[in-house]
């Protein structure tokens, strides 16, 4: 990763003219078409859209998990599309946190070991990594579960461990792909409380979701159809607004 990111001001994540095509010729699928996105430091953005609209592809490109067919991705002032695999792995380890629908925890590691793993891989001293992991588990309300294996945790608890793990390296951006896709409504509620706290704490976050309540935790909402953005709304206005009318009060 090239340096200079520390002094960088401006959108922490920026995509310009992003395109992604799969296949060739007449059978080619255009998964993403001319997508522009800027995410400010401390901003949370939700991306919604029907299956196959390209939202997962977008997240993969933003996280350097796939290469775009055209366009640019900038993370904290560094252009990351076109970086080599080694540089990308380094970048993901230091600047990004990922949360997936299927949790992707290591089954043979305890909760606290899962959370500290990214910090250890990034070369943090074990003691520092452990203390930070415990602090994060405390923040997600699971400190008393720190010695449990994932198999002993509920789905909601596993996802909260996965979110703590994503925060382990104090990433510039957290990317979450359907974080409540495998969860029941009570566990979804826990995750949405956690996402709301992250927003208040100023964690930069891009979350892809089908769940309206999860999307409603974001500062900004973007809807996608057929590989393009079709609608964008800021969700954090003042505290007054339509709430009275929504509750059945009248003017």
């Amino acid at each position: 990763m090239t340096t200079g990111s520390l002094s960088y001001v401006g959108p922490v994540l920026r995509a310009r003219g992003l395109e992604k095509h799969y296949g060739h010729g007449g059978g080619a699928v255009r998964a993403l078409q001319a997508v522009d996105l800027e995410v400010a430091t401390g901003e949370t953005v939700a991306v919604m859209g029907p299956s196959g609209c390209g939202k997962s592809t977008l997240l993969h490109l933003l996280g350097g998990l796939e290469q775009p067919s055209a366009g640019e991705v900038w993370l904290a002032g560094t252009r990351i599309d076109g970086l080599g695999e080694k540089a990308l792995a380094q970048l993901r380890r230091h600047a990004l946190g990922f949360v997936f629908q299927a949790f992707h925890l290591m089954d043979e590691l305890t909760a606290v070991e899962n959370v500290e793993l990214p910090a250890l891989l990034a070369g943090r001293p074990p003691r520092t990594a452990r203390l930070r992991a415990e602090e994060l588990l405390d923040q997600v309300g699971l400190i008393e579960r720190s010695q449990h294996l994932p198999s002993a945790l509920s789905g909601g608890e596993r996802q909260r461990v996965a979110i703590a793990r994503a925060l382990s390296n104090d990433p510039s951006v957290v990317l979450a792909d359907e974080p409540t896709g495998n969860l029941d409504s009570a566990a979804t509620r826990d995750v949405l409380r956690l996402l709301d706290r992250l927003r208040v704490a100023g964690q930069t976050l891009v979350v892809i979701t089908h769940d309206a309540r999860i999307a409603a935790t974001a500062d900004r909402l973007v809807s996608m159809r057929d590989g393009a953005f079709v609608e964008e709304t800021r969700l954090t206005h003042g505290t007054t607004g339509p709430l009275g009318a929504l509750a059945g009060l009248e003017h």
């Binding site: 029907p50 409380r193 909402l221 609608e231 007054t240 709430l243 929504l246 509750a247 009060l249 003017h251």
Partner: protein
Amino acid sequence: MPQIAGAPEQQPSPGYQLRVVQEVLLALLAGEASHGYQLRARLQVALGPLAEVLNPGHVYVTLTRLEKAGLVRAERVGQADRPDRKVYELTADGLDRVDEWLRDTSWPKPAPAEFHMKLVAAAAAGLGDPVRIVDAQRHALLAGLAQAQRTALAEPEGSVAGLLLEGVVLRLQADLRWLEACAQYWTSMKGKMR
């Protein structure tokens, strides 16, 4: 917005009011005779943050109307250091009205028919893409959901007003699910019309 399709604004007035404010005040008086300010305080507890948007003068105006209609009786109570206060008490007619209201099962709701017709008409006349209209409506409801949810999260555990906010959230979720079905239908129609 009062209706899912965004009904035109009614005549502006300062603040919101309960649709059935007369019945609500009568029902609150059914338990015990109260001052106007006590009624306002009880509304504030029940509605929590939503009480902030209520027009505070409306309670007193309504009480005067109820008195004229013979549904409440007012008694002046002297106070040593302040002007007299009125204590309101329910009459027999007022109690009948409360009973009627409690038994009434009409359910004020945003009717989907208006929005549905908007989509049908837009598609038939080629005035706009129904899917885009759905997207815009969905974002408007999601903005409302965001506000209701944040307000609910800020309520303390076990707050009675939190229960009201949960009702707002659940209804918006149901509306959003229906909009999802609208988007799917009109997307599939687009494919067929090509």
